[in-house]
Symmetry: C2
Subunit: 559 residues, 2 copies
């Protein structure tokens, strides 16, 4: 994950857009997702002219945002470049999702030239009221910092935004009036230093944690996404290794730490996932969250019950121990100090992480949940990137035991259906040497399905499982009458889609029985091409977690 850094590229005088792109490259961003558009041409041009960067032409802007989100989950930072007005607004939902989930993305957009703005000209892509900063205003809640760029402020503002994006691990917004991008940079500025802990506050926080852990008969760690976003997985693993503490993971945080680690005890999601893990975590005297967020879904629809006084949470820049907050304490410093100071705990009696077990069904047997999810679990290999769409499939896969190095990605908090397909594309762009596996329900897939064609266009070979259960199953389980027709979707012939989208040479299949599924999965492993398998199940084939959620709607909605 990128950390604040001095610019590596200082050389000759630069244009405004060259400066910004150069700094993004310093931070590891080499691909910008976008849809070109006239006011944005100078930005589009500069990206294409830079031999170390690629403009990844997305099918539409929200897909671009989701792809940048997937990219940033892998590389630590992403970027999009839609055009002014329609372009940026169509991306804003995806950027807001990245904000919610602490995924930093540079939202680079355009504006009409300052001359047109001064004239209050009646031009396309505006609301025709002479206002040009409305979309800049609308962007505010979706980003942690924003600016309208000029040659004078370019350096200082770019550095401020980099600093904000890395401090909060959230998106930032930069709008370039059309005439500014190619102007030479005029004003100065320099990178802001990385944040430092207040030594006294750090000492107090660490003392409090060490004290709580030392006093506890049993303690455990709950590593969370803030840890992953800060790029501190290695440091947290060192803490686990040194302390011997067991860790359980909540659904939003799945694979924050490696599930192949011997101290992993399983998934904790209140009463919705593993009962033995729930009992262990809730029975512990001290639960140390490392940037875990207690949302509705992560807390098992609020069925997780932890006495706050027994809990600790280490955030990016503060730490809470019971009811006491310690401010200006950097997560990495807390991890390092705890690694050095926590006592090594005894192994004790701990749950063993379960996997999804042995798949049922053979031959002409229908594909049930007991047939499907265990097969998917066994299909996964070390270092896979698994992108799981919000819905029953991600709930089923939440209980998969992920192989060493394999990562699980889901938009648990924001929960925009459709996110997974473009996010998987973005992740594959970020890590073309890893295997990307996408699992999505067909209802969600319909929102953003066109992005499938991009994998082939960019020479990527994902493995895509499309779960066709004839509608929005998760909604059938949460709404009043599961058969209400709004849960139905258009009946596509999904297995024909990749070819229509230009994915020549892919292996595609439509499977309705366990035998067909086995054959297709076996071919998928070895065929060496992109893969798209439509898995057809009965309408109500759902994994246990989804069924438990179905029983928890009153607690979930308070309505």
């Amino acid at each position: 994950m990128p950390q604040a850094s001095t610019p590596a590229t200082k050389a000759t005088p630069k244009t405004v857009i060259q400066y910004v792109l150069g700094r993004l490259k310093d931070l590891g961003v080499t691909d910008v997702f976008g849809v070109p558009g006239d006011y944005a041409f100078p930005i589009n041009d500069a990206i294409c002219a830079d031999k170390d960067m690629r403009f990844i032409g997305s099918c539409n802007e929200v897909n671009a945002a989701y792809s940048a989100d997937g990219y940033a989950r892998v590389k630590g930072l992403g970027a999009i470049n839609p055009t002014y007005g329609p372009g940026e607004l169509n991306a804003i939902g995806g950027i807001a999702g990245a904000y919610a989930e602490h995924v930093p993305i540079f939202h680079l957009t355009a504006m009409p030239s300052r001359d047109l703005q001064r004239d209050r000209a009646f031009v396309h892509h505006t609301l025709a009221d002479g206002s040009f900063d409305l979309f800049y205003e609308m962007a505010a809640p979706s980003v942690c910092a924003r600016t309208i760029v000029s040659p004078q402020n370019c350096v200082a503002e770019t550095e401020r935004l980099i600093s904000a994006a890395l401090y909060h691990r959230r998106p930032v917004y930069m709008a370039f009036p059309m005439d500014t991008s190619n102007q030479p940079v005029v004003g100065g500025g320099s990178p802001e230093p990385a944040p430092q802990s207040n030594p006294a506050s750090l000492e107090s926080a660490v003392n409090a944690i060490v004290d709580a852990v030392t006093r506890a008969k049993t303690a455990c760690v709950v590593p969370g996404i803030l840890l992953a976003r800060a790029g501190l997985r290695r440091e947290a693993t060192a803490l686990i290794d040194a302390s011997g503490l067991p860790f359980a993971t909540m659904i939003m945080d799945k694979t924050t730490l490696d599930e192949a680690h011997p101290n992993y005890i399983g998934m904790y999601d209140g009463r919705l996932m593993e009962e033995s893990v729930r009992a262990f975590v809730e029975g512990a005297d001290c639960v140390i969250g490392l940037g875990a967020l207690w949302s509705d879904f992560s807390s098992g629809a609020f069925t997780a019950t932890l006495d706050r006084s027994k809990t600790i949470n280490v955030f990016h820049h503060s730490t809470r121990v019971g009811d006491t907050f310690f401010e200006d304490v950097e997560m990495k410093d807390v991890l390092a100090a705890l690694t050095a100071r926590l006592p090594k705990c005894a192994d004790g009696k701990r749950p063993k992480p379960s996997d999804l077990g042995v798949p049922t069904g053979t031959g002409d047997d229908k594909i049930t949940a007991e047939a499907l999810y265990p097969r998917w679990n066994r299909f996964l290999k070390p270092d896979d990137i698994l992108v799981a769409e919000t819905g029953t499939s991600s709930m089923g896969l939440g209980m998969a035991k992920m192989p060493k190095g394999a990562t699980f990605h889901n938009q648990t908090l924001w929960g925009a259906i459709g996110w997974a397909t473009p996010a998987a594309f973005g992740a594959a762009i970020a890590a073309p040497d890893r295997r990307t596996v996408l699992v999505t329900g067909e209802g969600s897939h319909q929102l953003t399905a066109q992005e499938v064609g991009q994998f082939h266009r960019f020479g990527l070979k994902p493995i895509i499982f499309l779960l066709n259960n004839n509608g929005y199953l998760i909604e059938r389980l949460l709404c009043k009458d599961p058969e209400t027709y709004y849960n139905d979707v258009a009946q596509w012939h999904y297995h024909l889609l990749p070819q229509a989208l230009g994915c020549d040479g892919w292996f595609t299949a439509r499977v309705t029985t366990c035998g067909e599924l086995d054959a297709a999965m076996s071919k998928a492993e070895s065929c060496g091409t992109g893969v798209y398998i439509e898995v057809v199940t009965d309408k109500y084939v759902a994994p246990p977690m989804a069924m438990k959620l179905h029983e928890s709607t009153k607690a979930l909605y308070k309505s």
Copy 2:
């Protein structure tokens, strides 16, 4: 087009959502486009439970907004129902486009229950900061009025929003906390009266116009979209009939008045379209705009030059004569008064509207612009709904002479590529008995192509022409280097798309020669099914208007 009205449905006590839906039905809205979602279930449920309404499940939310936009262009008012957070934000670009183009849409969205809001609960679809009204705030610039609904304010707020939507012909936003929708309506309220002209101001405005026209040697009318949005086409046609005035139409306003009318003289777009029309309009002593908007594209990239003192414009609620504004003057009253009072003008020498002429090419000839656009023009029939995507194809079709009753729809001002495909679907839902013809470039189509499957799902039989010219042609013509790779798009096999999207039984074809195009168009006329024809041309096959725009970029961008 709907006008303010007394509720037709007063009967028994209603729930909050029933009241709102009942009022929308009074105004002619019988179809709500949306994507269901958990907080929105009570709204989704109520729509499905109403036997006089349909929930039209769109593939995604921006497509829903574009469809409602197309629907409202035909029926006068539309509605969408995405869910809270991700749903509504993904629709916001489409709603902003409707705002820009004066298309009224009810944006009905949900919120978590008031209990969850009071708890500042950490729930999905939020930014997890305990704030629940951020998206309500973000919606502000995209709508002319908005509210968060409660049982107490439901009637009064619904009536206020109806009034605002009809007054401004722009979208409005209503958010329903999950627990409110099914509560009985408590508070009172009544429909706001339709706006009335100030008699003195009306008299002054009409006198000024009659005076200007009487003094003019030549005068002409430029009817605009505000007229169409207000549902005053018939009244404006009566004015033309009574006065004998000729009318020319700008590109954004195409078919506001019927192009088969004998007084129609052609398209006026500065120096970009018909020179004879430009000369006539700009040579007239008095140009009467009826709600026409002088945007960049409508003014031929600012090449239209009219002396303001010679121009009049009649807006919805005000009228400008030269530099004088008359406020509180209703468009319909101005039209009626002018119809009664304007002198009948002599026929004089006027341009005759041209059409696109005789198509060139036969047999194996490639499909050139001279082959294509005239063929499309001849293909059109009376009462067709033609939805033309922003890009070179709409510029080419701008010069088509539309048959009697046929309407041309384009999002000229907002210019969101991708709008046309879902908008055509919405228009077809609104007018299933008319023939809907969609013409779109393939780059734009990729943004929203999944909506093609909806036509078949709802038993509609559109005729879709997909122009495949290997990338974003309009952008090649406007950017610095036409060959820059951001103008390329993924290479789909478009003619295979309808089948993949479930359009069983459709006639689909891929044509590369004039002979193939003729055969396919002939079959399209008679086959009685949905039609999807991929028309393949060389990369730079563009109509004259696009080429002229290519030469006008400096004026257009001032950059």
